[in-house]
Symmetry: D2
Subunit: 365 residues, 4 copies
């Protein structure tokens, strides 16, 4: 809502640049009494961390999180932290800031990057490693998301890569367990070798490629959301669009729904064995009229190919000189891969926020 | 941000249901000194109004807007209203509330509608004509959007239908002038007969179909937007996702970007004749890093097929009885058509808001 | 928070000017299931209404409220309205807009009024009857407050005038029943004649005088509030300072606390008969560290003397001409009197908002 | 607005407790291009820092600020930092956390403190040194305020102590230069010895006393503010009420205005030598109708006596046992003294925020 804050009751503010001293987030409005360990947060950060495989940037950051406020240690087990209801500040220091010469990047506008637009907006910018527009900022989101997951009892938020460039997974092979076993977050074991060969070729070409990520949240209580301008699916879409390089978002059947006839897009209902209404399908992706149905919330987002490529592209300098830009050094050939844990975090934050808002307005949970 | 408000400096709050006395909006933060007439606002409302062709619902509403506050009439020309900087309240009375018997709809959960979810959230709902979830609410957005268009000098926001169900336009035939000449908002004159035949068949089947709308904003100054959680494209996506029945949003190349290689998705730059940087293409859809590049902002959104269809669908009542639901009476076979002016309004509001925010933070325009 | 909105979960937006078609409010976030009648709202509006005694302006407005949205009538008793959780829009039409000649006021800056500052801010203003700065705007607040009172079970919010100019009530005579029996909202029956004589003299002099109002809220659950920047007392102070002509606010002992020693300002505690902690006094005014103690919340605010007086005062015109300003016509000699129901409404709204926020974040009530 | 955030465009979020690892703030929305040094920020922090005289707590904290983000060092002078428009994160580590035994305080509710209310709200609390309710949080505000001062060209915000307990300054002796020369921030040199003797006696008694602070802002452009719910004086009052131990706020004539007749409270106007309107007095305290007049903005706030005193006071434990509470150790006998730089910071933040909002909505400065 604000420039660097999202959420209404579960509010996350992030700060920090690629090459400053540190980056972090402040989570305000977190319910009291939530128990967690720094190690748990770290687990999520490690999933996002660069340098995990040859397919991600080789920048090596410890990405070690420090919890600076908003908690009190458990007396019997000091590693366990308990939220007190006051803002939880978490910080990650930047340790691998190579004293690189940025004089090159300083003047040039790299195509696909925010160099030109930051200058257009602010009249100056932190050119060191992309500054605030660096994907490093997303580490703070992942830390916040780790807390958000604990706010809603029974909530589980999982993500997977469903397409990389022209390659798709086979959805009939979907296995959530597989996601953690391969460097692509692929839920389809059979696709892993295919992705590897494909991405190797892209990398050798000095090129890059985009990806599509699917995030599924189960355990979302029916009723979460709001009817008009804070729809649950709207807020999820907004949160996902805020991730660097994301160019599209869809819920449930998504764009495909535009192609369907009414009867083919309907989720019919029956009475379940427990006497309560059940949906017979989930084409809506768990949201009707902006409010959760109780079925899994399903969102997908499209990440564009990494803008930093070795192929020379035409550009200009700040001073009006025409140049060619060619990226050297460490870069992910597919930034979409690491977007999986980030997407999960953003969905978790949106759901946590709506859980608190729903409880606030209606007293229902 | 709030349940029924959007925007940060140009803030729009809407209120009203399908079958209450009236509906309307309050536009807060509108700059002073903007001149307009109620007739101008009405022009936009008339584009959205039902009953314009056989392809839209036959509900007949005058949709006549009253401007209740925030203006002072021009002394020399009382039809011209001048904004004073205080909230502009606009109201549209509901005139065609047929005294229909809603006892049927009251208990039944119509598949694809928000009936079940409103009950899940609030424990009760206004079942008359869909209540707050009725598309009628969007009239208020269109009124607000008409004002928003005037906030940014030189801004033009236009929308068009680019696909209806399985039928697409031919983009090489694009003609903005054509959009106003046919009942489908099609920019492709050659597609009009095809759309008509297709939709006639759908309607005769008692079915419905979805659509894809494209909105293009020109005259958006480079620099508008914000870097992380109030990205211009994020806010546009959020605004569009808040429209009833929208299931997906994309910017520029959108989902297609995920399929491309880096060099194919890059917008290269050169120095123009005026010595200033120019982008040689606009695959980014006018936004990089959340901030406007100065190129047209291009957004597309997918509308699902109308949920109210004559084909019986399985459902349940509030009281746990299994029933079949079959819609009778007036309904649009493709609600996507009327979403065109709504989408334009939402994009205009997002841009107006960011224009004021940008001017506020940076003093630049 | 926004220009014309207050509250975070119980959000009130007001709109309207003295001489437009109407004024009103939109209450967003109101819990569903609250039952009320328009007549109940009207009761509160009538307390604020001008023309009730010779001590208030003789402008005669019906101030009849219409509830336009966010409700569904009770099936068995259509006069009873039930909130649905969607925005409640309420409107009051301006009926007594005398076709007065405002050419005089249009150019002159009336001392103590917002004429000069509105022009300084916006470059133009609605000079008719004070426009948006007219006390008429507060009718909308009173309507919203009537709903707010129903949000918190057991809440009672009452106000009284405790000083008018140099005249004070005798607090040992305090009787809440008396407040409704005299035109001054005085809780001290013995002070009524004194106030009457004092104000008659002021009025005959063509002068005006200020007042101090005290608002007391009982039934505020311990725990409501927030620790730092949304303190319950802070939000109450903010809400009260937003009322026209208010120049000071205090909580509990207020400014007097600055004069006391620690032991004289302490609220000691003991264990009550029910085994729960009790405060032995309430010098804090029901709030410690921004959070409600469970004792009555006590706030006082100071209203400056009516700026419109018959005594000529030096001023200037928009065009730089020095003039004398002298008010003729209907005006309250003490605007503070009618501020009593407004103050109550604002306190009720603040408490309702914090009730929902507290329930949202903590799940406690 | 949020629990731990204030401001709309110049947004400050603070975090941290008395005895966590650190505390800090994130300033979001700061305009780009502002130049400052960490040493400048430190100057303001040092004014607030405890242990400066025998009249403030002897806790010794370096209170050294680190600027972690949102800036880029000047190339020619790396000590000079330039804001980039992205969030400025500032952190102060807690260095003097004596490993005190807090088992005593943990169970007991100290009268006047937020112990009972935090437990009532959250069900648990950080009892170490008062946790989030400690005055230590205000260091973060002072850091934010140091930046805010630079946002509005020509703005100067100064504060002074005008009363301590029963002792007042003589306003005819007012000298801003004197404020920095004595430990009480007294603008009256003659009052210093009197204050010293008075406070020595209070301290020897193991007691404490309150204070009244006045903050004056000059260079506030006419037009800043908003008409109804974001009035400049309302936001200043809200900001000041958010400071620990503050129980009352007033603007200009304040509570005294309630005692005056209209003609005695009027600020008359004439045309100045430059042909522009001038106010002949400033009883309004620089604000009319919520909008700045261009005259100095004058606010006063009342701070209650320090709650921690050596005199035993009756209280209870969390477990329902009646106890006496008696404070030992380091505590300010008059917390109001150190509130001077905090009050200045809060006023500066409110004005900076309104400057950006005004520029945003109106394009005027």
């Amino acid at each position: 809502m604000s420039h660097n804050t999202f959420g209404h009751l579960f509010r996350v503010t992030t700060w920090g640049e690629s090459h400053g001293a540190a980056l972090g987030c402040v989570v305000d409005g977190c319910p009291p009494g939530i128990r967690f360990t720094a190690a748990e947060i770290q687990t999520f950060l490690d999933r996002r961390k660069p340098g995990q495989s040859k397919y991600t940037t080789q920048r090596r950051e410890a990405d070690a999180v420090r919890v600076l406020s908003g908690i009190i240690p458990d007396e019997d087990d000091p590693d366990t932290l308990i939220t007190t209801g006051t803002p939880v500040s978490m910080m990650i220091e930047n340790t691998d800031q190579r004293s690189k010469d940025y004089s090159d990047i300083k003047a040039r506008y790299r195509p696909g990057h925010a160099d030109f637009t930051y200058d257009a907006k602010y009249g100056l910018r932190d050119y060191r490693g992309g500054g605030r527009s660096s994907a490093r900022e997303t580490a703070a989101r992942v830390a916040a998301g780790a807390l958000a997951r604990k706010v809603v009892p029974g909530l589980e938020v999982r993500g997977a890569l469903v397409a990389m460039g022209t390659e798709d997974i086979d959805r009939s092979n979907w296995d959530w367990e597989e996601v953690g076993r391969n460097p692509f977050f692929s839920p389809d074991a059979d696709a892993v070798d295919r992705f590897a060969a494909y991405l190797d070729a892209i990398r050798k070409d000095g090129s890059s490629v985009g990806a599509i990520i699917e995030v599924v949240a189960t355990g979302v209580p029916a009723g979460l959301g709001a009817p008009i301008y804070a729809k649950l699916d709207q807020d999820i879409a907004s949160h996902l669009m805020s991730i660097n390089a994301v160019k599209g978002v869809e819920i449930g059947n998504g764009f495909e729904a535009a192609r369907l006839r009414g009867e083919d897009n309907a989720d019919e209902m029956r009475i379940g064995d427990d006497g309560r209404p059940v949906f017979l399908s989930n084409k809506a992706g768990g949201v009707l009229g902006g409010i959760a149905t109780g079925k899994p919330v399903v969102a997908r987002f499209a990440v564009k190919p990494t803008s930093s490529i070795m192929t020379p592209t035409k550009s200009v300098t700040k001073d009006g000189v025409e140049v060619d830009v060619q990226t050297k050094g460490r870069h992910d050939p597919c930034v979409g891969i690491r977007a999986v844990p980030i997407g999960e975090a953003m969905v978790a934050c949106a759901i946590a926020d709506h859980y608190l808002r729903h409880r606030g307005q209606t007293g229902r949970v």
